[in-house]
Amino acid sequence: MAERSFEHEVQKLKYSHGEIFRGEGILAVTKALLQSGVSYVSGYQGSPISHLMDVLNDAQGILGELGAHFEASGSEATAAAMLSASINYPLRGAVTWKSTVGTNVASDALSNVASSGVTGGAMVIVGEDYGEGSSIMQERTYAFAMKAQMWLLDPRPNLTSIVDMVEKGFQLSEASNTPIFYMMRIRSCHVTGEFIARDNVSPSYSNAKPVTPNREAEKIILPPNVYEQEREKIAKRLPEAIEFIRKNKINEFFEGKFSQVGVIVPGGTYNTLIRALQRQGLSDVYGNSDIPIYVMNAVYPLVPDEIIKFCAEKSKVLLLEEGQPEYIEQGIHTILRRADVHTRLFGKDIMPMAGEYTGQVTLLGLARFLEQDSDGSIPIEMSSKEVSALQSTLSDDDHNSLLTSLPPRPSGLCTGCPERPLFSAIKQVQSELGPFHISSDIGCHSFATLAPFNLGNTIMGYGLSLASSSGIRHSLPHKAISIMGDGGFWHNGLSSGVTSAVFNKHDGILIIIDNGYSAATGGQDIPSFVDPNTIVATTIDADSAHRDDKQPIDEACRGAGVKWLRTVSTYSIEQMKNVLSEALQSSEPGLKVIIAEGECMLNRQRRIKPLLKQSIAGGKRTLRARFYVDEDTCNGDHACIRLSGCPSLTIKENPDPLREDPITYIDNSCVGCGVCGSNAHSAVLCPSFVRVDLVFNPSVIDRVVCNLREKAVSLFSTNSAENQL
């Protein structure tokens, strides 16, 4: 069960012709896929398209009714390989992932399908994770499109354009026998808006209408076919694509009264440009601009005729191309030079080479552009100097004071997260046996590299931690330590990590965090399951949804030849420390795998909360635990926080008038996982941690015992202070 449910919203996907569809970008894309008659959809979750996978997952029923097939792929490579269905048959299909990381994983299959070429429309919807809010290294999908000769669409970020471009994208793919990238930027995934729906279309082939197997030997990627395929890409598919884009007006021309200048903009940044023009007094709110604009909804390939037509009569043109290198700019220069057009093209010479083109960056770039060799005929409301000043209105003093006093707010693990006690344990073992070099991985556990744990040296990719320890392991003073999530393990950690390590007699330690879900991307299901464990304090539990075809991680490891394998509940900090120390000091050869089990607390709470309510309302005796810090005994050293970082473990003013340092405080969001108590024990902290169990619907025995206790205790109690002043 994913974090966000779209069960209700996916009903809109059934809208028929003429209905007004209101919703988010990802829902609009899904609707567009159905309107295009896709036969199969698939993908791998990851921001910003995690929710697209959730929508597709929740829409399985609707997809099924139409005859479209859905799979939650094991990795982006799996998803990309599915596109091969479109090679021999006129089957439309779409897959989605986070780019560029997902594209990198998928690249093997992707290059091959691009070489073979497709008969049915094949579309890769990439969540372009670039700029503010991104969670990965900063690269562009553009490079892949160029090297593999796949076309790249970057539609204007309004739902009508988004939907139209999906439908035209399939046609483009078919017209040029080429798989295409369809780019969703971070913000357009969740942008809300409306469009007029069309009817859904059933795919021409499906379960009910199977294809006739068709072998086209020339499409197999073996020599000598590959030479012909490369030639065909350039000689046939590229011109066909350019022709289709031109004919179908995929790119848009907007006239403007100042025809001596112009702006070329990828569709995805069009809205930002219009806002900048409006703020300069050069456009109205509806996008009627005084400056001519050429919008490239297809950013690859470039259409030379259109570019020449747009630039020819202008003295200068600005290109707003986000990211680096400046592929589009180079392409346009080539086109203009070849056509001997002398229009001055401004691009990265006045715009930043790296980083997102935000409102401020675009506004500044536009001002700079209009100021270049200006004869004053185009009035602007803000000079580039004035625009620069908007960046910060703060005086130098205030700027500096905020710089020092404003605390950063890094991401961290959730309240009650099962990964926290694991890292508490590692931190404690490190203080005895460390310092450690740790190969980290992608997932929630990446946050252990931040405060307060500060554990981990490198992150090389999803499921690649163990692989990445292989080069350093012979030079480490301790056994190599790798940490991997269950998501990463199934994504490729089993093959590129475990199998390879066993084969190479790797004698390091692999800690696999088994929380039962692809948690970092929003709690999607993964092949393995984690049984609900009895944790320290949450006192109600239930079986998680059952699945017959469990694929346990430990069996997979054993199957790959692992001999030393321990499964430990993460919440058992003491046991975890012992197992870690044992693994680090063991003389036994071979890979040592520790499966650290603990169900994702977000998912667990989603399951338990209603049960708890139900149990209490139903009159059943129920215990609910939470923790409490004794304010009389807490000294305010915060060692407990440095071992935990739980959001519910916070601080408040010290009630003791003599003490100045804030004391630790547990707020009401505590879920009673018990980690602070266990840490107090295992790290020998202060005696301030208290677990409080609230008893709901007490039994008669509860009442009698409680009564007797209170009476007995009051006999031995004294007043608040033995001695009075």
């Binding site: 921001s47 809010g133 991104s134 971070i186 913000r187 942008v191 809300t192 808006g193 930002t272 709110v285 935000t358 409102g359 908007l390 910060s392 209105t393 205030d398 004071s401 905020l402 605390p407 707010r409 890094p410 991401s411 961290g412 959730c414 946050f447 405060a451 970092a520 409490y628 004794d630 009389d632 005994t633 305010g636 050293d637 926080i641 916070t650 601080i651 408040k652 003013e653 008038p657 003599l658 003490r659 100045e660 340092d661 266990s678 024990h681 020998v684 902290l685 202060c686 005696p687 677990r691 169990d693 609230l694 008893v695 206790r709 205790v713 109690s717 608040s720 202070a721 001695n723 002043l725």
Partner: protein, 493 residues
């Protein structure tokens, strides 16, 4: 002015319902016949970081083809309303340039949600919220702020409803209050409480009811010495009256603590130390005496097993717990303490002769070891409660205990160092050394580290210039491994 969109940017922390707030606003716009475009940057920030939501509003035209082009980016100088669910995030809005004095109404809750950097420090690493608020106020067109979390809690509502009320009350969006109310009503969840919180907040914002912001600051009301309850107490309080009045408060708290911890004689000894200090200091306000009085009391009342047992068996404590965990009246609670006593702490409450011998005997240590390690004890149970009362009673022999001797030896070294400095008229050093008393705290290893660091500063610091002592304290507060202080000593050696 040409037509333009109304732009709102909001920063909310994970779990604060920023998504609910955004959806509500979009629904209000819809009811009012406006376009509303929302975007959010979730990413991995959905866990604990701040999530930025961005909304643009524009009235619908009767012509269907007239659709505004809306931006997906909040841009500097282009924001009408900035909403922050927490005061530091409001300052961050200003820092990022999203607040401009001629245009932006800044709406923020005064409460703090501490970041990990602020929480994990060894001392007090919290940001100066008052300063952040002051800066934020200076750069906004209007600054509407009050403790919205408290308002939400008072009504048992979610903070999103209070934020929505603030937006409605600010009047920047030309939407009727009834549209806001209808949206809350149709949400169908905790409607009454959320409506009440919304109303209260809207009214506050409408009146621009900016509260004087005192973020958990101590009251500035002049301290009045309370009246003694006992004869011995009166003697002690009379003694306090011989000090300048600025010292009354700290001395009173010090004396109370000592009496509660041990007895009146202990408090009397405490006052005697402060007296000698004040006599040597020879300054009307007694800044050094003030610091010594504070940290000396805390140190003298070091938390040994008897003290912890004493504190854990107070009846008032249970009431505190009940309030904190929001227990219903008469609801049964089970209270489990997490103790982890070490042999050292056990020996510390024993008479010195016995404690010393046990620490030297491996057999005795082995026996005691059976009682060490992590213990979960139910203080609501009779057995544990009685056991703790017995341990608490060990305080009658505290003066002859091993721990007492150990702590008081260090106390003397610290006091002498301050007095020496005063005798040499080196008030900078004296004050700095007195302030270093802040370092002493914690249990077990932590206490060992912090007291040894103070002793190091007292000993090794003697040869350093007076101006350096303060920086030694900060170095000690740098990390919990002692590296910072060690490096500092190396660099000045």
């Amino acid at each position: 002015m040409t037509e333009r969109t109304v732009n709102l940017v909001a920063a909310a922390l994970g779990g604060e319902g920023g998504g609910v707030f955004t959806n509500w606003l979009a629904d209000v716009a819809e009811l009012e016949g406006w376009f509303c475009q929302t975007t959010a940057l979730a990413g991995v920030a959905q866990r604990t970081g701040a999530t930025i939501y961005y909304l643009e509003f524009f009235p619908r035209s009767s012509r269907h083809d007239k659709i505004p082009v809306m931006s997906l980016f909040p841009a500097q100088g282009d924001i009408d309303i900035a909403v922050a669910s927490e005061i530091a995030e409001a300052a961050r809005m200003v820092q990022r340039g999203f607040v401009t004095a001629d245009r932006t109404t800044l709406i923020a809750s005064d409460h703090r949600v501490y970041s990990i950097d602020e929480k994990q420090g060894l001392g007090d690493s919290t940001a100066d919220a008052e300063h952040l608020s002051e800066v934020a106020g200076r750069y906004s067109k209007e600054f509407i702020h009050y403790d919205m979390l408290k308002l939400a809690n008072d009504h048992g509502a979610v903070i999103s409803s209070v934020l929505l009320g603030a937006v409605a009350g600010s009047g920047v969006l030309p939407f009727s209050k009834s549209s806001f109310e209808n949206v809350i009503r149709s949400s169908g969840k905790s409607v009454d409480v959320n409506l009440a919180a919304f109303e209260a907040s809207a009214e506050k914002a409408r009146l621009r009811g900016v509260e004087v912001f005192t973020p958990e600051s101590k009251s500035l009301v002049e301290f009045k010495l309370p009246i003694a309850q006992t004869e011995k107490g009166r003697e002690l309080l009379d003694q306090i009256l011989t000090f300048p009045s600025v010292l009354y408060e700290v001395l009173y708290h010090g004396v109370s603590k000592c009496v509660d911890y041990q007895d009146h004689a202990y408090a009397s000894w405490y006052l005697a130390q402060c007296e000698s200090m004040y006599a040597l200091e020879n300054k009307t306000n007694g800044p050094v005496t003030m610091q010594v009085a504070r940290y000396l009391a805390l140190w003298m009342c070091y938390e040994d097993i008897s003290r912890v047992a004493q504190l854990k068996t107070r009846l008032a404590r249970v009431e505190n717990i009940r309030r904190e965990v929001k227990a219903a009246p008469n609801q049964i609670l089970h209270i489990t303490e997490f103790f982890s006593p070490r042999i050292e702490e056990m020996c510390a409450i024993m008479p010195k002769v016995i404690g010393d011998r046990i620490l030297k005997s491996s057999f005795a240590k082995a026996v005691l070891k059976l009682f060490t390690g992590g213990k979960k004890l139910r203080t609501d149970g009779v057995f544990v409660f009685v056991l703790l009362r017995i341990l608490a009673s060990f305080r009658v022999v505290r003066r002859s205990s091993l721990g007492y001797e150990y702590e008081h030896k260090m106390i003397h070294r610290w006091l002498s160092s301050v007095m020496n400095a005063l005798a040499k008229k080196d008030s900078v050093r004296a004050l700095a050394l007195a302030r270093c008393g802040r370092l002493v705290k914690g249990y077990g290893e932590t206490r060992h580290r912090t007291t040894s660091q103070l002793m190091d500063i007292v000993d090794k610091g003697a040869s350093l210039p007076s101006e350096r002592i303060e920086s030694l304290k900060y170095a000690a507060l740098d990390d919990d491994t002692g590296e910072g202080l060690a490096k500092m000593f190396d660099s000045v050696a």
